[in-house]
Amino acid sequence: MTELKNELIRHSAADLAAKLAAREVTAVEVTQAHLDRIADVDGQVNAFLHVNSEEALAVAAEVDAARAAGGSAAEELHALAGVPIAVKDLIVTIGQPTTAGSKILEGWHSPYDATVVKKLRAAKMPILGKTNLDEFAMGSSTEHSAYGPTRNPWDLDRIPGGSGGGSAAAVAAFEAPLALGTDTGGSIRQPGAVTGTVGVKPTYGAVSRYGAIAMASSLDQIGPVSRTVLDSALLQEVIGGHDPFDSTSLTDPFNNLVAAARVGNVAGMKIGIIKELHGEGYQTGVENRFNESLQLLKDAGAEIVEVSCPNLKYALGAYYLIMPSEVSSNLAKFDGVRFGLRVLPKDGPMTIERVMGATRAAGFGDEVKRRIILGTYALSAGYYDAYYGSAQKVRTLIQRDFDAAFAQADVLISPTAPTTAFKLGEKLDDPLAMYLNDVATIPANMAGIPGLSLPGGLADEDGLPVGIQLLAPAREDARLYRVGAVLESILEEKWGGPILAKAPDLKNAVLGAVSNTAGGSN
């Protein structure tokens, strides 16, 4: 049985779905195998803030009962029914706490489900639990979580990326075959890159954000986290589609993603290297793996062209004006009145204003405070035009650059992150250095276009995963899955198997110096 469990957790979601449909395994077995894995290794990884064993097993049992009953009950099951999934703790769920990685929401239970969670429930995918993140998704390392950092399964002394480090690490550590993430400036793709997993930020509006606690509303997007490109395509088809509860939700159908992942060739496609998103500032090992992927795509029949997006040099700056501006507004609701923490001032008059000040001082961490203050500054009278106004214009320039680039290429390509996973603590005292990690992922959010990160191999100098990013025009998510799946299959052939087969065995791993704090379990 242990043998079987070890094997089960290594399967892709697509393979698990096939085994379930063929009744080779039961959904309860699959779910229990992942819950056991969480119990075995999450003390070291800290990917989960809450584990949802009882409900997950109950949903799995329902799936097994429907399959056993046969007939219409079995036929009506979704293809991914019984395949378990983890959910980033920024997305609200009935029956489990939602903390957003913040003390201000410790122990809070949402009275409603996010639309994506409703869709998981409708597909009868057992929800294993809620994954760790930087507080309110603000960070690139999960070190800003109020519940302790998540650790990278490749090296427990290193960051798993952020903000969705918990979802990426859970998938990389075989604690879940699939997870949901949110991506405002790279929070799905950068963790994917540094953990050797796949992460996709769909087109802005392709997946409903209803029930994702808003960070920056013009940038936020929910998307899939997985170990294979096909699995992300399967998951995006489950969670995507129009939702009247999200007024930015697109009505376009996105139901050709799985088919695109199965096309299997890139012959004749034009793939554009973005001149500004590689070279100087990128680690040698990252650059080497990137160049290798370009050559492999070329060998597979794609035409490689170089494109220039000169305004991308302003993207990081514009992002750090727009995002905090929206943060300062979105986080005003955490005021100690309707939900979450309330802290009373130690002395002086007990007015609501002073209660808010004390509550927010105690409930928010440093990075959240920094961004709220920065956003308040960018929006204040006298600075609005120079900061927020200018940043919105830069956004137009970035969109124009991408439009011009996509006139020359079907998809664009770059490294996902400039470096491999850095050490825990290394950039914690230097916010700007931390921000620079998202330099290649931010442009897609600014323009609303879809982006996918997939493993590109290991850097020569440190043996850690490198991510390759693909970008497509808005609404053309299918192109990412087509090119991504082809590159993945060529690379896996070269490696002799998936990249995660090269990751160290967590059972023999030892913890480093940083203490591991337990999450908001209740």
Binding site: P111, G317, G357, A361, Y377, A386
Partner: protein
């Protein structure tokens, strides 16, 4: 553009309803000055004639039918409140006494 100083941060913290200690203000002022300096170039990037983009994929006239949909019960709405009284959120004094 002017640099951001400690007094600015103290003022902004008041506007944002975040109490800050003297030590926190000192630290935040230094960190924010570095960040503000690094984003300055944005104001020189685009000319007058460039339109602003507020949403990447703008949609207009997103309406729904004017019918009552799902609503929370008072109990659900108050379920996460720090304090409640007779089906309402309970808060400390809104105004100073003086």
């Amino acid at each position: 553009m002017a640099a951001i100083n400690r007094d600015d941060v103290a003022h902004l913290a008041r506007l944002a309803h975040i109490e800050m200690s003297a030590e926190e203000l000192d630290r935040m002022a230094v960190e924010l000055a570095v960040i503000v300096d690094s984003v300055k170039s944005v104001s020189e990037a685009a000319g007058e004639d460039v339109p602003a983009t507020s949403h990447p994929i703008p949609l207009t006239n997103v309406f729904r039918e004017d019918v009552v949909g799902h609503t929370f019960t008072a109990e659900q709405a108050l379920s996460g409140a720090p304090d409640a009284f007779e089906n309402r959120f309970k808060v400390p004094a809104i105004l100073d006494e003086d």
